[in-house]
């Protein structure tokens, strides 16, 4: 199975297609189904917001889309690759070259410098340290943190830390960017700054961007809102329909 789809270079239409995806945790009487026949198409080039109440299955869904969790049943195609048919090792290989993450708690390594944190995805890909660090410097310039690149992340404000996380997620030019509550730990100003950054830097005709959020303040940044409830997608709202829907 070829999973080494190179970062954004090709011209074909990138998208995600999920068909009848189900997922349960636990077994037997303790089994708890969290996704029910989820089917959805997500096009590249847009900022997709995945919203819904706590426990509705958002995190499970993005974990499956990102290839870090396996569905119990159903089919899922990412950029023409049938993810549901890949082994764990193949999924790991796929993520290495195609998926970027922004986490709620940033997940930066405090013992590494800001620049080293940003360089990690490239180092995982096996790129030489010097080249990775040069690229990280460029990315930090993009998020206006080039003057903080040799500091420990713990010395940055939370807003700056999330910007570092955005730079880290985008450094490998992934075809899929998953952001899990990127503004949950930020105040309104920093939340908008980070969302603006994601919008400006991440949106690309061949990149799928999915942002999980509870934050009503950032809904304006989305091109499409995917609403989930009780493990099901209840509606998909386009930007043009926001005013009517919200």
């Amino acid at each position: 199975m070829v999973t080494n789809v190179s970062p954004i270079q090709t011209a074909h239409i990138a998208h995600i297609a999920l068909r009848n995806v189900n997922k349960s945790y636990g077994e037997g009487d303790l089994s708890n189904q969290v996704l029910f026949d989820v089917s959805i198409d997500i096009q590249a080039g847009h900022l997709n917001l995945l919203v819904g109440p706590s426990g509705c299955g958002k995190t499970t869904l993005i974990s499956i889309i990102a290839g870090i969790l396996s569905a119990d049943s159903g089919e899922m195609t990412l950029f023409d690759i049938p993810l549901h048919l890949l082994s764990d090792a193949e999924k790991t290989h796929f993520r290495k070259y195609n998926v970027g993450f922004v986490f709620q708690q940033f997940n930066l390594i405090s013992t590494l410098s800001v620049r080293e944190n940003v360089a990690i995805p490239l180092m995982i890909q096996g790129i030489k340290r010097q080249d990775a660090m040069e690229k990280a410097t460029e990315m930090l310039h993009e998020v206006n943190l080039e003057n903080r690149m040799d500091l420990s992340p713990s010395l940055l404000s939370v807003g700056q830390q999330q910007r570092v996380a955005v730079a880290r997620a985008l450094i490998s030019n992934p075809r899929l960017l998953i952001c899990d509550e990127p503004t949950a730990a930020l105040d309104a100003q920093n939340g908008k700054l980070v969302m603006g950054m994601i919008r400006d830097l991440a949106i690309h005709p061949e990149r799928v961007v999915i942002v999980v959020t509870h934050d009503q303040r950032v809904l304006d940044f989305g091109d499409q809102i995917i609403d989930m409830e009780d493990g099901r997608i209840t509606r998909i709202v386009k930007r043009s329909d926001f005013k009517d829907a919200l």
């Binding site: 974990s63 290989h93 993450f101 997940n107 590494l112 995805p121 995982i124 899990d180």
Partner: protein
């Protein structure tokens, strides 16, 4: 990634220091105790090492070098008659009392060597002339034990069994296990000091001619005389073997070394596990980003390897320091053959692999989806 692994390791200074201290302690305990054990074993064979004879001939009942079973003198002539013997000389060894000025006495290990060749005498003479042992009522004493004999000088007189013993030489040689002063004289004088004995001969020291190896000559002597004969090294091992099998000494040391390994393993395993558990979300993040289990395992092994090397180096350094300082200020024996650092290295590798096992297992089990759980 290895540099990042290092930075993660050094970043948690307390755990890093705990890991290094645990392994240092373990290495030091292993190497220091085994060095003391080897030093003791060397003292058990000090008489053999000091004498430097190619083949030792003795009574078949003899179990180790200090277990002297005297032989009659005619055995010396029988050995000399064996084909392949270049020369054979008598060697006398017994415990005796030496009277010191002021009325005190000291137990000594009295050695009598062939008066003609002086074979069996130490080669390193600090003061006086070893050849003067051929003069009646003369002895040579060893440098290390001079203080036990009242710090006599060449020319001073002591008494052995009420007979005059004038010091003509001071020699340097390896000390024995009991730390008894070695006193050398000729075979005939030694018999004079000890009194008439029906079986005076402790050992026969022999040298093979050019046609025989020590091992071949030993076999030939045993076949023709029904005495026991051993090449020097084999006799040393026979003596060591006796002490290993018949005393609690090796068990005592083995327990200490075992504790060193167990304590080192426990400290490093527990600390390294805690280190990995504290960083488990970071490992999971790297997994989510596409780092394979192999990459993470190699990072963990590298971290453990670095800690192991540092702990090993410091532990070995401290052991070397002990090796210099302890024998200089105490009577403790200390000898570190090259096998000891190797054994310690293998132990450290074992301890490191053991402590890595739990951490690696945890990292392999860590789901990358953990990154979304806050």
């Amino acid at each position: 990634m290895y540099l990042f692994a290092l930075k993660m390791l050094f970043g948690d200074r307390l755990k890093f220091i705990t890991l290094v201290v645990g392994l240092t302690f373990s290495v030091m305990l292993i190497t220091q105790q085994t060095s003391i054990f080897c030093g003791l074993m060397r003292r058990f064979v000090a008489t053999i090492r000091n004498t430097q004879a190619a083949v030792w001939v003795m009574d078949p009942q003899m179990r180790f070098v200090d277990d002297v079973k005297p032989m009659v003198e005619r055995e010396l002539y029988r050995v000399r008659s064996v084909e392949g013997v270049e020369w054979a000389v008598p060697f006398f060894q017994t415990l005796s009392q030496i009277q010191l000025p002021g009325g005190k006495s000291e137990t000594i290990s009295l050695i009598g060597v062939d008066s003609e060749s002086l074979i069996g005498c130490p080669r390193k003479v600090i003061a006086g002339r070893i050849e003067d042992l051929r003069i009646p009522d003369t002895i040579a004493v060893e440098r290390r034990s001079l203080w036990k004999l009242g710090n006599p000088r060449v020319g001073d007189r002591l008494d052995i069994n009420d007979q005059a013993a004038r010091i003509v030489a001071i020699v340097d040689l390896a000390p024995n296990f009991q730390s008894l002063p070695y006193v050398f004289t000729t075979y005939e004088h030694a018999l004079g000091y000890s009194g008439p004995l029906r079986k005076p001969l402790s050992f026969i020291l022999t040298q093979p001619n050019n046609h025989y190896t020590p091992a071949a000559l030993s076999q030939k002597i045993e076949a023709e005389t029904h005495l026991s004969a051993y090449p020097q090294l084999q006799f040393m091992w026979k003596t060591v073997d006796y002490y290993v099998k018949n005393t609690g000494i090796p068990i005592n040391f083995a327990i200490t070394v075992g504790l060193g390994i167990i304590v080192g393993a426990a400290i490093s395993a527990q600390t390294f596990y805690a280190f990995v558990m504290e960083n488990i979300s970071q490992f999971a993040t790297m997994k989510a980003m596409g780092a394979s289990n192999r990459t993470l395992i190699l990072m963990i092994l590298f971290q453990n390897c670095v800690v192991g090397c540092i702990g090993y180096g410091i532990g070995l350094g401290l052991m070397a320091l002990c090796g210099v300082v302890i024998p200089a200020v105490t009577e403790l024996s200390f000898w570190t053959p090259w096998q000891i650092p190797l054994i310690a290295y293998i132990s450290v590798v074992g301890v490191s692999l053991f402590s890595s096992t739990f951490a690696i297992r945890k990292v392999i089990q860590a789901e990358p989806a953990l990154v979304f759980r806050g």
